[in-house]
C-alpha cells in the first residue's frame, strides 16, 4: 500500500468535540471483533471523527488513513484509549504514517497483557468477590448487584478516562509513561485484596446455606460430611486452579442424572 504524506493544514491538538467523540466511540471498539483484524476495524471506527476532521476535503487521504487504521490491531478494550489518544495526537501533529503504524504495532502487545492482568485477573474478580461476600453476608438482593456495578465501573471508567488522557498527552512516548504509571502497583494491590477475599468467602461457602435466598434450608445445619467434602473440594481448587472447572461441571451433570435415575428405577 502506498502511503502519501499528509496534504492538509495541521492543527496541533484535536478539538474538544472530536476528542470527546473518539472517547465515546472507544466503548464500542470491540463491536466488530473478528479473527482477521481483531479490533482493527473498531479502532478505525473510534478514530473516524478525528480522521474526518483531519482530512476534510481530501477523500483520497481519508480513504487511505481509514484503511491504515482498520488493519490488524489488538489491545485490552479499557486500555485501547491509550493508543487512540496517542494516535489522535500523532495524526494531528502530522506524523509520518509509517511511524504511526510502527507505534501501533509496538504498543498492542503490552496494552493487551497489561489490561488482561489488571482488569480481567484483578479489578473484575476482586469486585465480584466483594459482591459475593456481601451476598453471603445476607444483604438484600439489590445490594450485591449495585455494589458490584458501582465499584467495578468506578475503576473501569477511571481507567478508560485516564488512559485516553495519557495517550493524548504522551503521544509516542506513552510506553515510557505507562511503565512508570500506577498500573503495576495497583495490580499488585488488587491481587492481595483478591486473595484475601477468596479466603474470606471460602468458610462462608463451605458452611453452606449462608445465602439469604436458601431460605428454610439456611436454617438447617449442613451435615458434617458435606462440610468435610466442601473443605476438601476447596483445597483441590487451590491446588489445581481453573483445571477443576470442567470436572466440577461434569460432576454436577452426573448428580442431576443420578437424582433422576433413582426415581426411574425406584
Amino acid at each position: 500500500m502506498r502511503i502519501h504524506a499528509p496534504a492538509v493544514a495541521l492543527s496541533s491538538r484535536p478539538s474538544r468535540l472530536v476528542r470527546a467523540q473518539v472517547f465515546l466511540r472507544s466503548f464500542a471498539i470491540q463491536g466488530s471483533w473478528n479473527y482477521r483484524t481483531l479490533i482493527g476495524t473498531g479502532f478505525a471506527f473510534a478514530l473516524l471523527p478525528l480522521l474526518r476532521a483531519r482530512y476534510r476535503g481530501d477523500p483520497a487521504m481519508l480513504r487511505e488513513s481509514v484503511e491504515r487504521h482498520a488493519a490488524l490491531f489488538n489491545s485490552h478494550p479499557y486500555l485501547a484509549p491509550v493508543a487512540l489518544g496517542a494516535v489522535a495526537q500523532l495524526e494531528s501533529d502530522g506524523a509520518d504514517p509509517l511511524l504511526v503504524d510502527r507505534f501501533k504495532a509496538a504498543v498492542r502487545g503490552s496494552l493487551g497483557s497489561l489490561g488482561d492482568r489488571l482488569v480481567w485477573a484483578g479489578l473484575r474478580p476482586v469486585c465480584a468477590l466483594f459482591a459475593l461476600a456481601v451476598a453471603f453476608a445476607g444483604a438484600p438482593w439489590w445490594v450485591p448487584v449495585v455494589l458490584f456495578l458501582v465499584t467495578y465501573n468506578a475503576g473501569h471508567l477511571f481507567l478508560r478516562t485516564w488512559s485516553y488522557r495519557l495517550g493524548l498527552k504522551g503521544g509516542k512516548e506513552v510506553g515510557e509513561r505507562l511503565r512508570r504509571s500506577f498500573l503495576g502497583p495497583a495490580q499488585r494491590i488488587l491481587t492481595i485484596c483478591g486473595a484475601f477475599l477468596t479466603g474470606l468467602l471460602l468458610p462462608l461457602a463451605v458452611a453452606g446455606g449462608a445465602l439469604r435466598g436458601l431460605g428454610p434450608l439456611a436454617e438447617r445445619a449442613m451435615p458434617f460430611i458435606w462440610i468435610v467434602a466442601a473443605a476438601a473440594a476447596a483445597l483441590l481448587g487451590v491446588r489445581f486452579g481453573s483445571a477443576v472447572r470442567l470436572p466440577v461441571f461434569l460432576a454436577l451433570v452426573a448428580f442431576a442424572i443420578l437424582g433422576t435415575l433413582l426415581r426411574v428405577f425406584a
Binding site: 470491540q30 486473595a195 466440577v248 454436577l252
Partner: protein, 224 residues
C-alpha cells in the same frame, strides 16, 4: 415466563460481554438477578447468579481464545428455573439449572465464535465499496454490533425455552431430598472459589492474604 423480556435482556447481556459497552451487566451475578427481577423474583435470580458467578470467575477472555459465554447462559438458566419452579426454592431444580447454565454457556461461546467469523466477512472488503469509505466502515461496524445483540437475544431466549422444558421434565422425576443438591452445590462452589486463588498468584505468592481472609471468614461465621 414470558420469553420476550428474556430475549430483550439477553440481547443487552450478549452485547455488553464484548461489543459495547462492557459495563459488566453481562456478569452472571447481574444478568441472573435482573432476569429474576423481570419475573418478580430477584432473590431467586440472585441465588443462581451467585453460584454461576463463582464459576465464571475462572474464565478469562484473553486474546483470541474461545471461551464460554456466562452472561446469556445465566439469563437462560434463570428464565428456565423461574418457569419450572414457580414458587420458592427448589434445591434439585437449582442444581439442574446450574448444570444447564454451564452447558449452555458453551453454546453461547460457540455462537460468539460464529459471530466473529461472520464479522470477518463483514469487515473484509469494505474499502472496495463505492460508498464513502468512512460511512461504509461505520455501517459495517454497527451492523456487526446489531448482529451481536440479536445473537445474545436468540441464545438467551432459546436457552430459557429449552431449559424450562428440560427442568419441567426433571422436576417430577427427582428422587433425592433437598439437602443433597444443596450439599453438592456447596461442594462445587467451594472447589471453584478455591481455584480463584490462582488468578491472584496462587498459594505460593498470596498465602498470607489468603489465610488472613480465611481467619476473617471464620470470625464472621462465629459472629453470625
Amino acid at each position: 415466563m414470558n420469553l420476550i423480556p428474556v430475549a430483550l435482556w439477553g440481547g443487552v447481556v450478549g452485547l455488553d460481554a464484548a461489543s459495547f459497552p462492557q459495563v459488566m451487566v453481562s456478569r452472571p451475578l447481574v444478568a441472573a438477578t435482573v432476569t429474576g427481577l423481570l419475573a418478580g423474583r430477584p432473590e431467586d435470580g440472585l441465588l443462581l447468579g451467585v453460584i454461576l458467578e463463582a464459576f465464571a470467575l475462572l474464565v478469562l477472555p484473553v486474546g483470541a481464545a474461545r471461551y464460554p459465554e456466562a452472561g446469556t447462559a445465566a439469563v437462560a438458566a434463570t428464565g428456565a428455573y423461574l418457569a419450572a419452579a414457580p414458587t420458592g426454592l427448589d434445591a434439585a431444580l437449582l442444581l439442574a439449572a446450574t448444570a444447564f447454565a454451564l452447558a449452555w454457556e458453551r453454546v453461547g461461546g460457540l455462537s460468539v465464535h460464529v459471530q466473529r467469523r461472520l464479522n470477518e466477512r463483514l469487515v473484509v472488503g469494505w474499502s472496495e465499496s463505492r460508498r464513502r469509505p468512512d460511512r461504509e466502515l461505520e455501517r459495517r461496524h454497527l451492523s456487526a454490533m446489531t448482529l451481536d445483540y440479536l445473537r445474545g437475544a436468540v441464545v438467551a431466549a432459546s436457552g430459557a425455552w429449552l431449559g424450562a422444558l428440560a427442568l419441567r421434565w426433571l422436576a417430577p422425576r427427582w428422587d433425592l431430598d433437598a439437602v443433597s443438591p444443596v450439599g453438592v452445590l456447596v461442594v462445587a462452589s467451594a472447589a471453584v472459589l478455591g481455584a480463584v486463588l490462582q488468578l491472584f498468584g496462587g498459594w505460593g505468592e498470596r498465602r498470607l492474604a489468603f489465610l488472613l481472609g480465611i481467619l476473617c471468614g471464620f470470625t464472621l461465621l462465629l459472629l453470625r
